[in-house]
Symmetry: C2
Subunit: 211 residues, 2 copies
């Protein structure tokens, strides 16, 4: 099976789409541009993915496969709570740093006006909630407290996403080197921020909820 490029067409389309969607958004990128970047004929997109939206679905599957595995690996109930949180944040940062484009597409700019996509997203999320609620309990917080859960749940990840979104802008304006050293401090700072924050919530909780 001789190929016109090192990887097969399907994979090249996927990678080209990830890069383009991440930089310019799903709607702003045309299939011709994806095909050109992937060095395939336009019709191959419908051939492999049954349309442009099929690429997005494949991207979501790709992301969640990797993401869920990372989360599952990093959860360790035998570890002390603070160490466990530190580990989670460290792996989370490393993961997003490694798969920045993929993550930004799925966790930041996913189009929520396409029912097809929202439905798929809901399926993927439900598996992750189980893991998160376990961690919640260890802080003495009630995972069934929907309000608290809906506030605290997305805040860590969205903070990290915000950093990566404005990374290229900051690089030019603030002249920061985003090297290993930076991300070491980044991880430590974020861990301190959220560990103290969550402990603060755990202490205050009886005051708000039923004591």
């Amino acid at each position: 099976m001789v190929q016109s490029s090192p990887k097969d067409g399907k994979q090249r389309i996927l990678e080209a789409a990830i890069s383009l969607f991440s930089k310019r958004g799903f709607d702003a990128v045309g299939v011709r541009e994806i095909a050109k970047e992937a060095n395939v004929n336009i019709s191959m997109i419908s051939y492999y993915f049954e349309g442009k939206i099929g690429i997005l679905k494949a991207i979501m599957n790709d992301f969640h496969d990797r993401y869920y595995q990372m989360i599952k690996n990093v959860m360790d109930d035998s570890l002390p709570l603070e160490e466990c949180v530190g580990r989670i944040i460290r792996n989370l940062v490393t993961f997003i740093r490694t798969h920045t484009d993929l993550t930004m597409i799925v966790l930041h700019s996913l189009p929520l006006d396409i029912p097809e996509i929202v439905k798929l997203k809901a399926n993927k999320i439900s598996k992750l909630i189980t893991e998160l609620s376990g961690l919640f309990k260890r802080f003495g917080l009630d995972p069934d407290d929907k309000v608290l859960f809906s506030i605290v749940g997305p805040s860590l990840v969205s903070s990290i996403l915000a950093h990566f979104r404005f990374k290229s802008v900051q690089k030019n304006v603030l002249n920061i080197d985003f090297d290993d050293e930076f991300y070491e401090k980044y991880t430590e700072t974020l861990t301190t921020l959220f560990l103290n924050g969550l402990n603060g919530l755990a202490v205050k909780k009886p005051e708000i909820g039923r004591s």
Copy 2:
């Protein structure tokens, strides 16, 4: 001067665009749809805004005028630090709750691949940084510590944005009522989270930086 609709065409275009851009994104929305929603002829868009992208610029100006004024009003150095932070978060949540569509467009899904837009955004942001760095000092944190600043700065706002982004999804799945009561608890929880987090950073800081 008789008008075909209560407000003038320019304002109606702006409001229609805010609603549509927020729900479906800048690139996914066509000028014909905006014109239809605003009940004006297509050509009025170029007439008033010099093109589709002109609407986005007007939206950015509209947002930042209101946003900057809110930030400026809420900053009060005479207040105790913790009370000041509480006030900021409360007003921030109220503001975003009131101007959800406007905020989501400008602070979440602004297209960063258009140099014209990025440039305008940079101008708007620089004014806000001054206000933020003053607050930083009050926590005993160094606003010239670019790394720390770039981590902590966007985390609060992005957490709130994440909530509003998935609000409609959560409403259906978790069956939460997003009423005044919810946002009272929301504000309190977020304040506790970040107040403890920032204090934790202030305490730990001498350990990381040069003592």
